[in-house]
Amino acid sequence: MVAAGVIVGLPAYNEAERLPAVLAAVARAAPGAEIAVVDDGSADGTGDAAARCGASVLRHPFNLGYGAALQTLYKYALRSGAELLVQLDADGQHDPTEIPRVAAPVASGECDLAIGSRFVEKSDYRMGPVKALGRQLFARLGRLAGVAVSDPTSGFQAMNRRVLALYCEPFFPPDYPDVDVLVAAARRGLRIREVPVRMRESTRASTLHGGTRDFYYVYKMLMSLWAESRR
C-alpha cells in the first residue's frame, strides 16, 4: 500500500499509445498516490492521454530531454510538498506492481534513494552490448567513487525530499542522468539502496536514452564523473 503524500511520476515522450495501460497499472499498484506525467514536448497527444487517465500533466513547451523531464518532475514533487516520489518510465519497461517494493525502504527511512535494479537478483533481462558494457563500466566507476550500485542506469527509483532538493539543482544533466548523479547524492551523504525488480525490455526501437547516442552517453558520463570528483 502506498500512502498519501506520495507522487508516482513518469517522464513521457510520444507514448500516447502505451501510456493509458501503464497509468492504469500504476493506479492499481499505488491507489493512494498522485500520478504525475511530464509530457516532454510530445507530438502524439501524450499529455492529453495522460490527462484523460486522471494524471497531473506537466507539459514541456518543446522537447528538453529525459533528464530535464525528470527534473521537472522533481521540481513539481518538491513544490507540491510530496514526501516521496517514485519515478518510472512510461514505456512499460518497469512493472508498476513493484512500486510499493521500491518505495518501501525510502518510506521507512531506511534510505534516501532506492533504485530498482535488474541485476541484484538473477533475471532474464537482456540489454544491447554497448549498453551492457556502459552499465558495467559505470557500475565500476560508481564503486570507485563510493557508490556500490549494480544498475546505475535504472529509471525506476524512489526518493525523499532530500534527494529531490539535490536533484533540482542546476548540475542535474538534461539528457542522461545516471551514475554521475548517484555519485553526487552519495558525496552529499544521502543513503542509496538497491531493490531487486523485474523489468521488461522496451518494445520501442529508440527509447528516451538509447540508439546511436550510446557512445556519446559513455563519454558524457565520464566527463560528468570527473566534474563531480572536482566539485
Partner: protein, 149 residues
C-alpha cells in the same frame, strides 16, 4: 656556410620580402568592411551591442596591420616564424578556437536558462490547468509557444 646559417639567411629573405600593395589593400578593405557590417547589424538590431567589442577589435587590429606591416614582421620574428602569413594563420586559429570556446560557454549558460524557463512554463501551466480546468487546451492555441522540434 653551414646549414643553420643558410636557413637563417633564407628566413631573413622571407621576412624582408617586399610587401605587396594588393595584400595591404585587401586587409584594409576587410577591416573597413568588417567594421561596417558590425555597425549595420547593430543598427538593424540583429547583433547586440555587447557582442561587438571582439569584432571591432578584430577590425581595428586588421586595420593597424594593414597600415603598418612592420608590426606583423616584429611579431613573426618574436615568435620565431618564417613568414608573415604563418603568423597570421596562427593568430587566426587561436582567435577561432577562443571565440568558439567563448560561444560554447555562452550557449551552455543559455541552454540552462531555457531549460529552467521551459520547466517553469510546464509547472505554471499545470497549476493553471488545476485552477481553471477549461484552460486545459492551452498549448494548442495562440497562448502557447511554437514547438522548436
Amino acid at each position: 656556410m653551414t646549414d643553420a646559417e643558410r636557413l637563417a639567411e633564407l628566413r631573413q629573405l622571407f621576412l624582408h620580402a617586399p610587401e605587396s600593395g594588393a595584400v595591404r589593400l585587401v586587409a584594409l578593405l576587410f577591416a573597413l568592411s568588417l567594421a561596417a557590417v558590425v555597425l549595420a547589424l547593430v543598427r538593424r538590431r540583429t547583433l547586440r551591442a555587447e557582442y561587438t567589442p571582439i569584432w571591432m577589435a578584430v577590425a581595428f587590429g586588421t586595420l593597424l596591420v594593414a597600415l603598418n606591416l612592420d608590426l606583423l614582421r616584429w611579431l613573426t620574428r618574436a615568435l620565431g616564424a618564417w613568414t608573415i602569413s604563418a603568423t597570421l594563420f596562427m593568430l587566426g586559429e587561436f582567435f577561432l578556437v577562443a571565440i568558439c570556446l567563448n560561444y560554447a560557454v555562452r550557449i551552455s549558460q543559455a541552454s540552462g536558462h531555457i531549460r529552467d524557463l521551459a520547466q517553469e512554463v510546464a509547472l505554471l501551466r499545470q497549476r493553471l490547468e488545476r485552477l481553471e480546468p477549461n484552460a486545459q487546451g492551452l498549448g494548442e492555441g495562440e497562448g502557447a509557444p511554437a514547438s522548436t522540434r
